[in-house]
Amino acid sequence: MTTPLLSVRDLRKYFPIKKGVFGRAAGAVRAVDGVSFDVMPGETLGLVGESGCGKSTTGRMILRLIEPTAGSIEFDGINLVSLDGGAMRALRRKIQVIFQDPFSSLNPRMTVGAIIREGLTIHKLAEGAAADGRVRQLLDEVGMRAEYMSRYPHEFSGGQRQRIGIARALAVEPSFIVCDEPVSALDVSVQAQVINLMQDLQRDRGLAYLFIAHDLSVVEHIADRVAVMYLGKIVELATANDLYREPLMPYTQALLSAVPVPDPAARKTRVVLHGDVPSPANPPSGCVFHPRCQHPAKDAACAAIVPPLEEKAPGHLVACIKQPPTRVEWSVQQAAGGNKPPERYLPVLAGHA
């Protein structure tokens, strides 16, 4: 049994809302509300969800670019949350990041070479000619020519800039990379190039990725395991295969059915959600998804009980008290006002027939 490279437990981030002249705290935006997961070395964990679900915030907390309100983050056995500046800086070599927007993630006033070299300079890994040599190697590794070193970011396309960003992250030899929507801003054909590159790099260097995205097709392709987030909580966590073949959480089912399938002949059973995502400042009680849920056994118990994330099949965790098996006893649900017993609900979704 391998030990996880990254271990997150009950991670929370609440942003206080200040009201009034004196800025009194009047509630909080629960951006991340108790998130726990592990990432194994060399693995890709996909983190999917729609805007406002907290996936980006989770990524930033792991990088300690935002301080968690509560919870623990363990990397390679070290507790990140309690580290001081100097120790954290040293650890930053191991945990790197790739950003979404290729047009704002590179300093427009620095040459490509300087951008990639910066990590080497900060951590004193190489200097002068040796550093230049490393930069050339990295450019080659991401499929770009060495002579691009002296050019500026604005001379490159989105896909090329993403490659530069990847080279920058690789320069310090990380073992874990937080990928915050790395291909969302790219065209389909460019996206494919960058995804292939990331997979190659993972294989060659044994990298682990936390792949944050809202595009489910991309995540299914690249991730080993996937966690689905909604309003700050993980509602489903399973291997990519299991999640896409048999999504048990009603939200995941809706999400998957909403993905447009490039096949006009596909029979489409669409689960259309009504209304908008509630505000994370005012999440629904009990199960955060219950107001929009389409599960046939949905009842008052769903509004009262916060569903635990529990294993419903080997390695497949779901937060729903209405999908059996569940530890939340029927008697407990009835006591909370429930009148419909749990039943398996698995709508047939397009592309899965």
Partner: protein, 340 residues
Amino acid sequence: MAEPLLRVHELRTYFYTEGGIARAVDGVSFEIGAGETVGLVGESGSGKSVTALSLLRLIRPPGRIESGSEILFDGQNLVALDERAIRAVRGARISMVFQEPMTALNPVFTVGDQIAEVVRVHKGGSRREAWDRAIKMLETVGIPSPAQRADEYPHQLSGGMRQRVVIAMALVMNPALVIADEPTTALDVTIQAQILELLAALQRQFGTSVLLITHDLGVVAETVSRVLVMYGGEIVEEAPVRELFSSAHHPYTEGLLNAMPRVGQERERLETIPGTVPPPTAWPNGCRFHDRCPYAWDRCAAEHPPLYQIGAGHASRCHLADEPERRAEKHEPLVTRTSA
């Protein structure tokens, strides 16, 4: 055969910039029939958005619609109309839905006001009438409590709601054609599903034609009946939607379809189209795709292919239509062989 609602003929829109002449749209021709939904698909740099803007004459200097371009709508050539006449068309006969609802809406006016303004500008009438019509439209696009929402400002609404408002503005004058430029790209996927359903329902209800511009082939598969694929400022393939997906002809279309990761499809690696999109200031000679094409041969570098008809309603700008046996000779595209 009924007269098409919109007939575009040899549209050319060039931008005269410091870096040279950018031939963003370079000889595009297509038709849209009444009540039809047509998809215009392409990636960045293909010219699809500039095409859309050209249709409504929204191109500003240094861009210009070249002489010889024809946009025939309802018996008139839109290119030849003067400013007043084209303004009468915009919003009332042809309207547009943009990608970013937040920037398409004026932040200092209520949403009700903005919809009502469209009515007043085109139809006149009293403020009361325009307001009532606006509320009715909000209801039609599925916004709950429309009378209250009409008094709200754009920032008070969610992204999906704002896009519904934009659609309401586009449809309030019952135009014959709606041009939707990536209407769902900025939205979450569940909201996108809602908006696409809405568009389909409204289209059925009002009988509007829709030109849907997008880079997402999945969206296209669900919503349109005919697809136009653009590359290098030209249309490279045109087909009914089923045929495009089942038997795409042009190597670029093929490449796009293969590059898309699909849920449920097990693949180790995605197939990519090597190289990058050429800049509109320097389209390659011959076939504009030839250096990235796995089938290209010497004819492709020398001779610019016309749109060959290869089936009912199916056309492809590729010499493979003329020499189909070459499809068996797949090889490394030029761009991978020459780059370091």
